[in-house]
């Protein structure tokens, strides 16, 4: 055996040994991404038209000068086409459904129309107008589509008044607007599936799932009266929800309606207000919720998080003699944003460690409560890159949007108006 042979043999053996024992665990992730990706049409590749041996066969002789010029011109055109295609390919990449992503354009609603908002200048551009009163736009997790709600006129924001709404889906650029539900009573709290193909929503405390392309909504039965439906990361096989009874709890049910609900392993509720405002961590391992104590004055709520597997709970250490309410997880799951509530009235937004170890950071200014106590008039969420909060202060009647950077950079003011909601597109990093 020659030295070269021995070297080649050892090289092959080392490669086989070093490449072995790798058990990829990301097939499901690949399939989620691919399922959300549209295939290219068969005619879009020149290889489909030109035989490979023709396109790659070397020329046996020199071309005449005019031919050379033509060839150079064709090559330049080909290079330009490849460059355009390459840029297009990059734009086609999709962000993961959970985790950090790059910030994209904003979308906002106010006074019945949907607008795209430049993330730097905050300049608005009408995206979806028309006669209907459109509001609450939310990007799909892959950032390619939008869902929003539509009413014939301005919906009543008075509690107890029935509202008839239609759920509408559009492409992220405002094209392809189509209704995905019939006119539905009290349609509420919707959430995109991880693969961005379906939307779960509530109507009259019942759970429905509808394809984003439209079609008959499927009622997921056996949930019991419910609210806060949220697809459980990472695969979205189950939907988490709060059982809305006087003995509430957090349950999970197969998203395709194929099985029974199961109650997550957790403490018995303190009272009928327990397990409010649930938020699922991006890795699906924890669920945060708001708990109201019994017989205390003032009745300040606190937030907790429960381990989905072990059922162990932890609270969030914060400023003493204050309450906490409403949780939003950062995209990477390491931080949470919630409202710190003062017993004398007023609240402010706070960001802290998601494991409950504190490190509270106040974001934005302290504001007065809408009423006395813990009634707060704000919505908030992290930006896709986790560096800022998107906040709406105010009520459905009149609200104003803000981007509040966590590093103390200047606040960006967004629009104001009725039913003001803002969301930001996730882009691949």
């Amino acid at each position: 055996m020659t030295t070269d042979d021995r070297f080649a043999r050892n090289l092959s053996a080392w490669l086989a040994e070093d490449g072995a024992h790798r058990v990829p665990d990301h097939l499901a992730e690949v399939l989620v991404h691919s399922a959300a990706t549209r295939q290219r049409p068969w005619w879009s590749s020149p290889e489909r038209w030109l035989p490979m041996d023709t396109t790659l066969r070397p020329r046996p002789f020199n071309l005449p000068s005019a031919g050379r010029l033509l060839t150079v011109a064709l090559l330049v055109l080909l290079a330009a086409a490849i460059a355009v295609f390459a840029i297009g390919s990059q734009q086609h990449r999709l962000p993961p459904p959970f985790g950090l992503a790059r910030n994209g354009p904003l979308v906002t609603s106010h006074d019945g129309d949907i607008y795209a908002v430049d993330q730097v200048t905050a300049v608005e551009r009408l995206l979806v107008g028309g006669d209907g009163y459109d509001f609450s736009p939310v990007f799909s997790r892959d950032g390619t589509k939008l869902v929003f709600l539509r009413s014939d006129g301005r919906p009543s924001s008075t509690p107890g008044v029935d509202v008839m709404l239609t759920m509408v889906v559009a492409n992220a650029d405002g094209t392809g607007v189509h209704a995905v539900t019939p006119l539905t009573k009290n349609l509420d709290w919707f959430d995109w599936s991880p693969d961005s193909t379906r939307i779960a929503y509530v109507s009259a405390k019942q759970l429905f799932v509808v394809p984003a392309v439209g079609g008959e909504p499927t009622r997921i039965r056996s949930t019991g009266p419910m609210h806060f439906p949220t697809w459980l990361p990472p695969d979205g096989k189950e939907i988490i929800y709060r059982l809305e009874t006087m003995s509430p709890g957090i349950f999970a049910i197969p998203a395709d309606g194929s099985g029974k609900r199961r109650e997550l392993d957790m403490k018995a509720p303190l009272n009928g207000f327990d397990y409010q405002g649930i938020a699922v961590a991006p890795d699906g391992k924890h669920i945060a919720f708001t708990r109201w104590p019994n017989n205390t004055d003032p009745a300040l709520p606190s937030i907790f998080a429960v381990d989905v597997v072990t059922g162990e709970e932890h609270g969030f250490s914060g400023m003493s003699d204050t309450g906490q309410r409403g949780t939003a997880y950062s995209p990477d799951g390491t931080r949470v944003a919630y409202a710190r509530i003062y017993p004398t009235g007023g609240y402010e937004l706070v960001v802290a460690n998601a494991d409950g170890s504190g490190n509270e950071q106040t974001v934005g200014k302290r504001r007065l409560s809408r009423n006395d106590g813990a009634d707060i008039d704000a919505y908030w969420a992290f930006t896709p890159d986790g560096t800022a909060l998107l906040v709406r202060y105010g009520s459905d009647d009149v609200g104003k949007g803000y981007i509040l950077p966590l590093d103390g950079s200047p606040t960006t003011e967004l629009s104001s108006g009725g039913f003001q909601f803002t969301d930001e597109q996730r882009l691949p990093r």
Binding site: N10, W14, S34, A35, Q39, R40, W42, S45, L94
Partner: protein
């Protein structure tokens, strides 16, 4: 069987694609790891390649070339990934080798340790040609077709990769008495 799956996947059958991807992902993941030597980068490269494979499958002219085409996508994704996140790697622990052993298990272990060090000094493009030929056992014409390069280029790229590895090993062998343990700077 595979041809049928490819045909179905080309026509938009995602279940068929899932079967193809499931059968290939282990092999692709190993190849990507060998080229990139970074689990996360390898995972990203394989994911990008498979999603791109799904997207571009309708444009694949010959279903029988699916495997070669998939290898090509993965190798390209690996090279893109390596270029995107090129960084200086210093994570090779040098183990103590007192004397050049001759023959037997010790010799083999020493050889493999040296091979790893030599391999790590190659550019991703050179690693790719070695992985395709020596790990996936593709003959050189198939390596050339997979990489989209002429056969002569594939031959010379493999030759120079091996020469470079051996040169690195020779240089290491001369330095061994002074390098008992530690990290290369």
């Amino acid at each position: 069987m595979q041809r049928d799956l490819v045909e179905r996947a080309r026509q938009g059958d995602h279940d068929a694609f899932a079967e193809l991807a499931g059968a290939a992902i282990s092999r692709l993941d190993s190849a990507a790891w060998l080229i990139l030597r970074d689990s996360e980068q390898a995972k990203d490269a394989v994911q990008n390649a498979l999603v791109r494979a799904w997207r571009d499958l309708p444009t694949l002219r010959d279903p029988d070339r699916f495997d070669a085409w998939l290898h090509r996508l993965v190798v390209r994704a690996c090279i893109d990934e390596a270029r995107r996140l090129r960084r200086h790697r210093v994570d090779v622990e040098l183990t103590e080798i007192h004397a050049p052993a001759v023959g037997g298990v010790e010799s083999s272990i020493a050889d493999r340790d040296q091979i790893e060090r030599g391999f790590l000094r190659l550019e991703p493009e050179q690693r790719a040609v070695i992985v395709l030929h020596h790990y996936l056992d593709l003959p050189l014409p198939a390596v050339a077709a997979t990489l989209g390069i002429p056969l002569g280029t594939a031959k010379s790229r493999l030759h120079y990769a091996l020469v470079r590895m051996r040169s690195a090993l020779d240089a290491d062998a001369q330095m061994q008495p002074d390098l008992v343990e530690g990290r290369p700077s």
